[in-house]
Structure formats: structure tokens, C-alpha cells
């Protein structure tokens, strides 16, 4: 059973590291998605462990939310891309200190 949790943890960490190291906004965003899905894995396996369906339901919720996030996120990223002709998150650093 714990293997699934471990796996989800690993995936989660990979995602997190990805967020920290990658510059491209899209990739960063995908890493977040990866973390979300890692969470889903955790939900499902816990659901299995406890033998109730709440976890699986949660997984569906998360997917929906993820979809919504994609919409919003991409729209923001695209509008920035139009302005800057780049999707590097490091370029957007006018607001500081």
C-alpha cells in the first residue's frame, strides 16, 4: 500500500523541483499539474486504504479544478507571451524589493 504513497511523494517532489528549476512558464505550470496528479494518486490510494469513496470523489474534484486552472493559467501566460514574446518566468521581474 505504502508504495503508492511513496510514489506519489516522489512525483510530488519531482514536480516541486521542476517548479523551482524550470524557466519556461508552461513547463513550470505543467510541473504543478504533475504535483496535482501526484496528489490524486495519494487520494485514490488512501481511499483504497480506508475503503471509502471520498478519496476517489476528491480525485474527480481535483481534475475539474485542474482544468479550470489550466484555462486561467494559460490565458495569463498567453497574454504575457503576446507582450514579451517570451514565456520565461525570469523575464517577468519588474516588481521587486
Amino acid at each position: 500500500m505504502n508504495e503508492y504513497i511513496t510514489l506519489s511523494l516522489i512525483l510530488f517532489t519531482i514536480g516541486a523541483v521542476g517548479v523551482l528549476v524550470r524557466r519556461n512558464a508552461i513547463v513550470v505550470f505543467m510541473c504543478i499539474e504533475l504535483m496535482l496528479n501526484a496528489t490524486n494518486l495519494a487520494f485514490v490510494s488512501f481511499s483504497r486504504q480506508h475503503g471509502n469513496l471520498d478519496g476517489q470523489v476528491a480525485a474527480f474534484f481535483v481534475m475539474v479544478v485542474a482544468a479550470a486552472e489550466v484555462v486561467v493559467g494559460l490565458s495569463i501566460i498567453v497574454s504575457i507571451y503576446r507582450t514579451r514574446r517570451s514565456t520565461s518566468v525570469d523575464d517577468a521581474s519588474l516588481l521587486k524589493s
Binding site: T39, A42, Q49, A58, V72, T83, A92
Partner: protein, 539 residues
């Protein structure tokens, strides 16, 4: 994979019971939001703006009225501590005193912010939001959009969605609902942040940062939920509470989930070290949106924080209290100190909001639930009052920020504010008033708020934290005072700032905020009693 769940074992699905009467305010706001979307689709552009305004305002006012009604007949729950309200919507929401009180203040904040959203006098007949977000800044199409005077009237439904999200957040009784509510309140705000008419680059950058970091934090939040679920086998706060008090399951998993859930919530209230987004977003976002965020998000997130930690994790408060103490101290100190060297009004207010998050945490960490049968100020009631005062004052402050302008729109650099007091004493006086309230000087609401949270902490046995708190508030006072010096005791550079003459909307907001700040300082009794009356959370 031991047993497959087959259709035969499925219990008969019975329709969920929804207490429509109790949840009225939520439905009204959601409905208004949806209506707004429909209007976007079908209403003629010419009159769309004002229609949206009317829909939003009327919706909020209606919801407010309903909230009052709901609040007045919340039935008393017999518990060791007085609590009002009940768990509704199949345990998804708990409509209780604190929650409904928060609805009330959120709606008030929303109303005031809507008035700021609707201000069109300052930008020559157009709102503070960009005409067409899709156009690249400075592009021909943008110029054309400006010429055609097109506007994003979607901001109103978006704000309403965010508002309903906040209200859900404050009352959600299980973690899953809380997560959904979190996203519902966040996503519209991400967008709103990017819609500034002036300085669009900054605005978009703010949106991007807010979005990425927000998503990042919400993922941690979500994973925390997962762990909590793994620990307790349920999303319901009360169920988790029982699990915690039975100490069933792995301790470490519980602690990890506490930490991760805390991350998501602390991010929203802007506590260190999860505050980094605050200054950038506050500065970049359109000022009305900043006002809305500053007041609303903080309130909703804080009540959610209290709810989770008191209801679900109350059993293990000896585990998380030290953590929160540390964060409170760091947050207060960092907010107060860094704001000293800020040169931009909006950034300064952002850091001040961080400092206030710290003070609120002081009251929270006292975790003082009061004594049955006595109306002593509790962590919950003091927090509620503080949020009220803080929200009103900061909306007022940001409203004033929208009025101090030069050719390039708002001029937020502090040096431009020199000598404002000589130019327009009343406006500067109002701003000084808000500053003094933030500083917690008596006869302003801020003082009563500080008194409340400190007394909660003291009652909870943290008198030394109170001493630290007062010393830090002295630090904080230092920079609020500097702003006053700048406005009143310094001579303007060059011709000084120009103060745009706003329409009735902004004026009303400022006047209400000022009166509220003073009123809550001199006769806090009524509001305070309301907060007291809210009692504890219903589990």
C-alpha cells in the same frame, strides 16, 4: 484489489438536503455572478457597464440583508462553549456565528470594492481596467480598443465569483469544499490582477506571479488534505477532530498534513515566509482589485485558518502552537521592518498587511476559546473584529491611492506624496487617519482591534508574545508616522501631486471607511458585541 465494488452493493442514492434558507447569501451572490455572465453574452454593450454594476451592487446588498437575517436566527448549539448555527449541505458547510459574521464583512468589503470598480471619472470616463486584455500593451489594437472605449465588464461577475468563493471558504466544513472554495476565490483574482489599464506589464507580471505561486501553494494545501484524509479517512473537520483526539493513525502523517495545510492558508493571509507574492501583486494589480484582495482574501483565509486549526486540529494544538508562534513573530517583524524602507505606497501597504497578518496570528495562537457563561474576548471574536477594522481601513487607504495621480495614472511613489496635506488637507487627513488606525493609536478602530488580539493571546497564556507584539507595533508605527510626516510636515517637490476629483462612488467609499474607522474606535461596542455573539465554531 480485494473486492470490486459492484452496482448491487450500492446503497440507494437519496437526494441531498440543502438548507436553502440558511445558504441564501451564497446562492444570491452566485446567482448574481451567473446573471452577470449571461448579461455579458446578451446585453447591449452601450448600457452593459452600468447594468453589471447594478446587478453586482443589488446582488450584494440583497445578500447582505439576507445575511443579517440568517445571523439573527442562528439557533444556539448546546456545547461546552456557546456556539450558534448548524452544519448544512450534508456536512459540506457549517453555517455558524463566525462564518456568517465573516459573510457579512466580506459582503461589505465586496460592496465597497464594487463601488471602486465602478469608478469611471478618474480615467476619463473609463474604468480602471484595461479595455481589451488580449491586446498587447502599446499595440495598435489596444489604441483602437481605447478609441472604441471597449471595456471588460466581466470584472464584476469575476469579482462576484471571487466573493462567493471567499464566503464558501469561510464556512466550508470539510477540507474538500475548502479546496474548491479556495480555487473559486483564487482563479478570478488571478485574472483580475492582470487587467490594469495603466502599467499593464506590471499588472500582467503580478497576475503571473500570483497565479504560479498561488497554484503552487494550493498544491501543498491539497497534498495536506490528502494526508489528512489518509490520517482520518474523512474530509470532515469534525471527523478529523475525533481521529486526532483518539490519536489513531500515524502521528507524523498528521503533523505533515497540518504543516502542508497551514502552508496553503498562511499563503493566502500573506504570512512569512509565504508572503513573497504580497508586495509584488499588491503593487501590480489594479488598485481597486488590491483593495478587494487585501480586505477580502485575508478575512476569508483567516477564518478558514481558525476553523481548520480549532475544529480539526484543536486536539493537537500543543504541536502546532510553537510553529504558529514562530511564524507570528517572523511575520510581524518582517512586515514592520521591511515596510520602513519602502518607497511605493502600495508596496508599503502590502508590507503593512503582512505585519497585520502577524498581529492576527498573535491573537490566533492564543487559541483562547473563552469560558462558558462569560463574554470574554476570545481568539475568534477578536480576530473577527480586527479583520473588520483592518478591511475597512485598508479599502479606504487604497481608495485614496487611486486619487493621487499624475499624467501616468496613479503616482504611488512616496516622494510624490510630499506635502499632500497642504494641497488637500481632508484627503490627507483621511489617509493619516487610516495610518493611525493601522498603527493602533487610540480613538481609532485599529487600537481596539490590537487590544482584542493581544488580550486573546494574553488569556491564552502568551503574555510575553504580547510584549513582543507591542514592541513590534511600535516599529510599525514608525513608518506609518513617516507617511504622515511626508504628507504634512514636508514641502511638496515641484508642483506636488495632483489629486483627481472622484465621482460620488469613491468619495462615498472613503467617507464610509473613515467614519467606520473612527466609529469602531470610539463606540466599538455594537460590532464587538456582534463578534462576541458569534461565539465558537460549530463542528
Amino acid at each position: 484489489m480485494k473486492t470490486l465494488i459492484t452496482a448491487t452493493d450500492l446503497p440507494p442514492i437519496k437526494a441531498p438536503e440543502i438548507e436553502y434558507a440558511l445558504l441564501g447569501p451564497l446562492f444570491i451572490i452566485a446567482g448574481a455572478a451567473v446573471l452577470g455572465v449571461i448579461i455579458e453574452a446578451f446585453w447591449p454593450r452601450a448600457t452593459r457597464f452600468w447594468t453589471q454594476v447594478v446587478v453586482a451592487v443589488v446582488g450584494i446588498i440583497a445578500a447582505l440583508a439576507d445575511t443579517v437575517w440568517v445571523y439573527t436566527d442562528l439557533d444556539k448549539v448546546d456545547a461546552d462553549l456557546v456556539a450558534r448555527g448548524k452544519v448544512a449541505a450534508e456536512g459540506a458547510l457549517s453555517v455558524d456565528g463566525p462564518g456568517v459574521f465573516t459573510w457579512g464583512i466580506l459582503l461589505v468589503f465586496g460592496l465597497l470594492s464594487m463601488l471602486l470598480f465602478a469608478e469611471r471619472r478618474l480615467e476619463g470616463g473609463m474604468s480602471a481596467f484595461t479595455g481589451r486584455a488580449a491586446d498587447a500593451p502599446g499595440s495598435a489594437s489596444e489604441a483602437e480598443a481605447i478609441k472604441l472605449r471597449v471595456e471588460h465588464t466581466e470584472v464584476f461577475p469575476l469579482a462576484l465569483f471571487a466573493l462567493v468563493g471567499m464566503m464558501l471558504f469561510a464556512t466550508s466544513n470539510d477540507l474538500l469544499t475548502m479546496f474548491v472554495a479556495l480555487e473559486v476565490l483564487s482563479l478570478p483574482l488571478y485574472l483580475l490582477c492582470g487587467l490594469a489599464r495603466r502599467r499593464r506589464l506590471l499588472s500582467q507580471e503580478a497576475a503571473l506571479k500570483y497565479f504560479l505561486l498561488g497554484a503552487f501553494s494550493s498544491v501543498f494545501f491539497l497534498y495536506g488534505i490528502a494526508l489528512a484524509y489518509g490520517y482520518a479517512g474523512s474530509f470532515e473537520l469534525s471527523a478529523i477532530d475525533t481521529a486526532v483526539s483518539n490519536r489513531s493513525g500515524s502521528e507524523n502523517m498528521l503533523l505533515a498534513s497540518i504543516a502542508l495545510i497551514a502552508v496553503g492558508l498562511l499563503f493566502k493571509i500573506g504570512a512569512a515566509p509565504f508572503h513573497t507574492w504580497t508586495p509584488d501583486v499588491y503593487q501590480g494589480a489594479p488598485t481597486p482589485v488590491t483593495a478587494f484582495m487585501a480586505a477580502g482574501t485575508k478575512a476569508a483565509a483567516f477564518i478558514a485558518l481558525l476553523r481548520v486549526f480549532f475544529v480539526a486540529f484543536g486536539g493537537s494544538q500543543w504541536d502546532w502552537r510553537p510553529m504558529i508562534v514562530a511564524i507570528a513573530i517572523i511575520t510581524m517583524f518582517l512586515g514592520a521592518v521591511v515596510s520602513i524602507s519602502q518607497t511605493d505606497v502600495k508596496r508599503m501597504l502590502a508590507y503593512s498587511s503582512i505585519a497585520h497578518a502577524g498581529f492576527l496570528l498573535v491573537g490566533f495562537v492564543g487559541a483562547y476559546a473563552g469560558v462558558a457563561g462569560s463574554d470574554r474576548v476570545t481568539s475568534v471574536s477578536s480576530t473577527l473584529f480586527y479583520l473588520t477594522v483592518y478591511g475597512i481601513s485598508s479599502i479606504g487607504a487604497f481608495a485614496i491611492v487611486t486619487l493621487v495621480r499624475d499624467s501616468g495614472g496613479e503616482t504611488t511613489h512616496l516622494s510624490k506624496w510630499a506635502g499632500l496635506g497642504k494641497k488637500s488637507p481632508w484627503l490627507a487627513g483621511a489617509f493619516a487617519l487610516f495610518m493611525l488606525s493601522f498603527a493602533g493609536i487610540p480613538l481609532t478602530g485599529g487600537f481596539i482591534g490590537k487590544w482584542g488580539v493581544f488580550s486573546a493571546a494574553y488569556s491564552g497564556g502568551f503574555w510575553w508574545l504580547v510584549v513582543i507584539g507591542v514592541l513590534v507595533s511600535a516599529l510599525a508605527a514608525y513608518f506609518y508616522v513617516r507617511v504622515i510626516v511626508l504628507m504634512f510636515f514636508t514641502d511638496p517637490v515641484g508642483d506636488g501631486p495632483t489629486v483627481a476629483v472622484p465621482s460620488l462612488l469613491t468619495t462615498v467609499v472613503i467617507i464610509i471607511a473613515a467614519l467606520g474607522t473612527v466609529g469602531l474606535g470610539i463606540i466599538p461596542g455594537p460590532v464587538l458585541d456582534l463578534a462576541q455573539h458569534a461565539g465558537a465554531f460549530v463542528r
